[in-house]
Assembly symmetry: D2
Homo-oligomer: 383 residues x 4
């Protein structure tokens, strides 16, 4: 057994769903332990969370600044910090840890602006830090299968990409929002310029880029704010033109009744088509030209070796959200170990979504808002 | 038994799939007989078709002009003509029959320009003619159910509409096109300014309008021409803004590998969602807010009376394309009978898609091409 | 155009759903005309039906005996009679027409006993008559595809067959049955010893035999009578052992809430599996060993030639119940024409379900009832 | 934070898939730690597993007898042992730990005979031990929802139950079996009298009993041994009669090409139907009589409180196999804590499958084999 790794967490306190998922995912892999945290800026809440999670009270921190400084000074410092706060903390928290030479895992959207993202990139490089952005759905086995099939040329040159991500949970939430009782997601100062476009849109943008390598050349985007309590966009439609000639459409919604969390991406090439539906993440539909569509099943013998590496339980036994996060952590921990062992680490080789991809998402959603503010006009992305 | 009706056909000769479907649909209803036709401009082909179809050789016509004139002059003239030619014949043929006071059933897209459409409208009115445009999918029982549910307020105010219509049949066809061997669909002079956008896009546009009553205010549209042999658009993406604030996206494709004829429309209201998939036309998915999605099945007792009128065989016994056409003819024949009986006929009340809707489709696809030619800029539709 | 054929009908009067389907199916093919009928034993009803259907009043018959005799004596006699009466008329009516040398198309279940069936076989042979039994689902294109794939060895040696046919329509019907108001289906004297097992079970039995050629060696069967008004079986479970070693289970139900008409058969070989679902008759699932399952779509280029012969409209445009019947009539009319042309006709070669298959169904359901009456004990079928 | 619990494991060493799943499930819950184990009878393998899993080398045991004795003697003894060995160890291992007063979690099938099961029950009672049998699929949220809906009378009185569990993984395995290289599953002395019927059949039997409370009165069962290397049953069909009048059919297979792990149960009542498909465990199909079928989604607001207790991540974010096991451990740990706190514990109230249910499975599969050996005759189960 290799030496266990250690990590800390910023955010993810009582009632925060996603922090619990990160911790569960890391426990699934069983190679790293939670040793410190800034789970809340309220001392009592933070201490309670530490007690609940088995964290030494001495490493219960009430601000991320304090935590970064204290942990950075320890000999047995954490191998990485997980940042699962509301969006507006992502940038300053990530920066604080990077400056202490601590590797970072951060939720998406990475930050508010490309400038912030480039700043993080500069500091990470200067301090030799690794950085993962948890675009969840890149962690699914069948995402890895899709990426390998594209790389193997199975669907040929890509012509169109159709991405959608409808949910309906916001409908109820909208009705409880008042000026005095506004969640951070409804406050542009705390969540950024975009809501659905940032929260969901970056998932589509990243999944497509992760699987195909395609980069967006320009886009035209419409943002809708439906409902009485609506402040930020909760329904987004975009036309996409990729570099190289492929085109596409992206749609996200938080008010699409009947849809839970229905990320779906279809990639059309001149030799075949791939279809991935997040809610059915154990499957991938592969349609070769001139032949019947096929349903690939996670865990089957015919999968590529690249996908097989991530299979945990046999075919027909469903894996889900937690395994997706766990796979990202599997990749990240491998990079951390290699770096600790003094090896050269090229983050792109490890499979986890990188800081570069985090910045790509930030550019994407900001350009979507730019387009919308210009009357859904076409805007060009930077090279 | 009421007196049988009589009809003629222009186009639909040997090898023409859609003419045969029209005739089969009319036979299903068993209330009208084919008595004349201009099935081909080649005399021998036309005569053979007449023999094959049991049409009196004396009523085998070699041009539509001749047919319109001859039939218009008969006492026992046809009750309607069916126009199922390549697109460029639609306008002149329809015009010729309307001028003779003969009711018209015409395939979509209706014609090349809104001006042509308005011209037909003027002539139809002047001559007291009925006019149906065969937007096939309005004929499905579950389309009628969807329309009634919207009218009954089941899904509330409509916010978003997502329409798509991917096919892949053109992939093989593209490879056989040469400059000397070009089908009419690949020649703008014969098919009009748009291909996929006209052939498939008008189906989406009409289905949405038919079911919801929504009218498009403006749109931004991108047309792609994929493949070596490609001349006209074979992949189309459009952002839509409807009058009243709803938004949407439409996508059509003839090069989407793995898709046969997959018209799918989702209509999202503030109280619920409807989803119709043409290839599963015996079902309609209805998702009420806060409750589990439901699968409505054609023929069930819980359907609206409006939909039940069109049910031919019990639930679980599939109906398909031919029944959809037959239902449109059922509606049209009812109007024809009422007109013959001297009743006032308001075409909108009968259920079949009207000339007005045909013109709507022509405006839609022309505006799509306008937008594309302006760099996928937003263009506004006429009131 | 070949000379048109002529047919008559026994049963199928006002309100009889299945008679109307037969007539519609024949109209779809457009090669035969209805010229006489015994649509009801009530003179007025029969005459009205004839008027409605365009049948010469002189050929409106009030008993099948009269019709058989009168038509048998005509020079221009009908090419076949369609028998779509309640079950207890099948045998005497078929016999009457066969004795006049008239070809017969009869609904299933063929008759009440194997003895009756063998009697019909003897008379048909003596009079040189053709005989089709309308096991509807053999007419679907994808049934023909399944049969050809089995014949081509695609799934290897068959090991298991799972067949089910649940419906729920009887639930409502049960509640309206009283001793004085009993439909023929609820009266063993009129419907035979079995209800669901005969009405639905024979469909499974025939579809499996038609597609695979397998013959049942023995079976153990349980019949349930659920509900207050229940008289005959409305839920049936059977274990099956086929000659040659394959095994299977069949289930039919008329009280399975949530199921419309859900015939589904899965055939498992040592090289692959076929799955056919009647309600999705435009598709066939084909799972080759060690490879992902594939969804075959009716009308696609990769289908076998045998299946392609029956494709009427392109892939993605649904066909349904009426086309299934029409395909059976296509086969039968071809045999009739060949017989009229003096050719040797081997009925097995034409594709329609034969008298032999009708007898097979009668044996099957009688043996099911035998087994049930013996405590669901195993009973052996005759060779 | 409550004091953490401690557990040990027998079996589940290197390469054993199911032991790893148990450990991962317990880590998901994060309330118990693995502290000892007999992972292999090979000392080096056992020691390696302990090192890999962070278990104190002093608590690495080479036989379960030694482990039971040593742990039973410790003050800080384990709170439970997990038994995940080949089947033939279940009984003696469970017995050894029960005799030391240690609670047991054991994989299914529980043991070889009802006598063994009753023996375990006697010893467990005498020593005041808790006992869970890990029928995995009882742990799914939607299984709990199904059970609650049945208890709430949503589907009324149950009439039929259709259960199936096809897999195809054995096909490849069969081809590698030789007399000298036989896995324990292919040796009746090590796996028991039944293979597929015990491994898969007990899952159906238990799921149905768990959800509905129904008990089997009698059954008739056929076992098939397909393939050259086949020794024990790999395909099983059974007719079932339940006490109270319901009937059903169960099918399991390990040679059903195209099926991964497709447990599916449909329960038909006189008011509605439930359908659960293990591979789509985040959904439950609920069909009320006379209304459209509904798709319930795990995590939705309309679920029963009983099901909501087990929801870990929001709707649309898939949970899978590991969460199912984790839910069983959640229930079991609650019972363990209550027992430690001196409370009266009625195991039936906690939700995990009990020893009683384990014995039920053993009786079921033995009666299936009895029936088969008697020529698939009907056999009656004990009261």
């Amino acid at each position: 057994m290799s030496a266990r790794l250690k990590y800390g967490m910023v955010g993810g306190g009582p009632g925060a769903f996603i922090g619990a998922v990160h911790r569960a995912a890391i426990r699934l892999n069983n190679e790293a332990d939670l040793v410190c945290g800034n789970f809340s800026y309220l001392e009592s809440e933070c201490n309670e969370a530490c007690a609940e999670l088995g964290v030494d009270p001495a490493r219960s921190y009430y601000t991320f600044e304090e935590m970064a400084k204290a942990e950075g000074a320890r000999e047995d410092k954490i191998d990485w910090v997980v940042i699962v706060t509301p969006n507006f903390f992502h940038y300053p928290a990530a920066k604080a840890f990077l400056e202490q030479g601590i590797n970072v895992v951060c939720e998406k959207p990475l930050c508010f602006s490309v400038e912030q993202g480039l700043d993080l990139k500069r500091i990470a490089k200067a301090n030799g830090c690794l950085f993962a952005v948890t675009y969840t759905y890149t962690g699914h086995v069948m995402t890895r299968e899709a990426r390998q099939l594209v790389r193997d040329g199975v669907i040929g040159n890509i012509r169109m990409v159709m991405g959608e991500y409808p949910q309906d949970w916001l409908l109820d939430a909208l009705e409880t929002i008042t000026e005095d009782n506004k969640p951070w997601r409804a406050d542009p100062k705390l969540s950024g310029r975009g809501a659905s476009v940032a929260d969901l849109g970056t998932h589509i943008e990243n999944w497509v880029h992760y699987v195909t390598g395609l980069k967006i050349e320009k886009l035209a985007c419409n943002l809708d704010v439906f409902g009485e309590g609506g402040v930020l966009d909760n329904n987004v439609e975009a036309l996409i033109k990729f570099k190289g000639g492929a085109t596409g459409m992206y749609w996200t919604s938080q008010v699409a009744i009947g849809f839970d969390n229905a990320l779906k991406v279809r990639i059309f090439g001149d030799k075949g088509t791939l279809e991935f539906v997040q809610e059915e993440n154990n499957y991938l539909k592969v349609s070769p030209r001139g032949k019947p569509p096929q349903i690939y099943s996670r865990g089957s013998g015919y999968l590529t070796d690249e996908a097989k590496k991530y299979v945990r339980v046999p075919t027909g036994h469903p894996e889900g959200l937690t395994e997706a996060y766990a796979n990202i952590y599997l990749d990240f921990a491998a990079a951390v170990r290699d770096k600790k062992a003094g090896l050269m680490v090229n983050e792109e080789d490890y499979g986890y979504p990188t800081l570069e991809q985090g910045i790509g998402g930030v550019e994407f959603y900001n350009k979507c808002v730019d387009s919308h503010e210009a009357g859904a006009a076409w805007v060009t992305l930077d090279d």
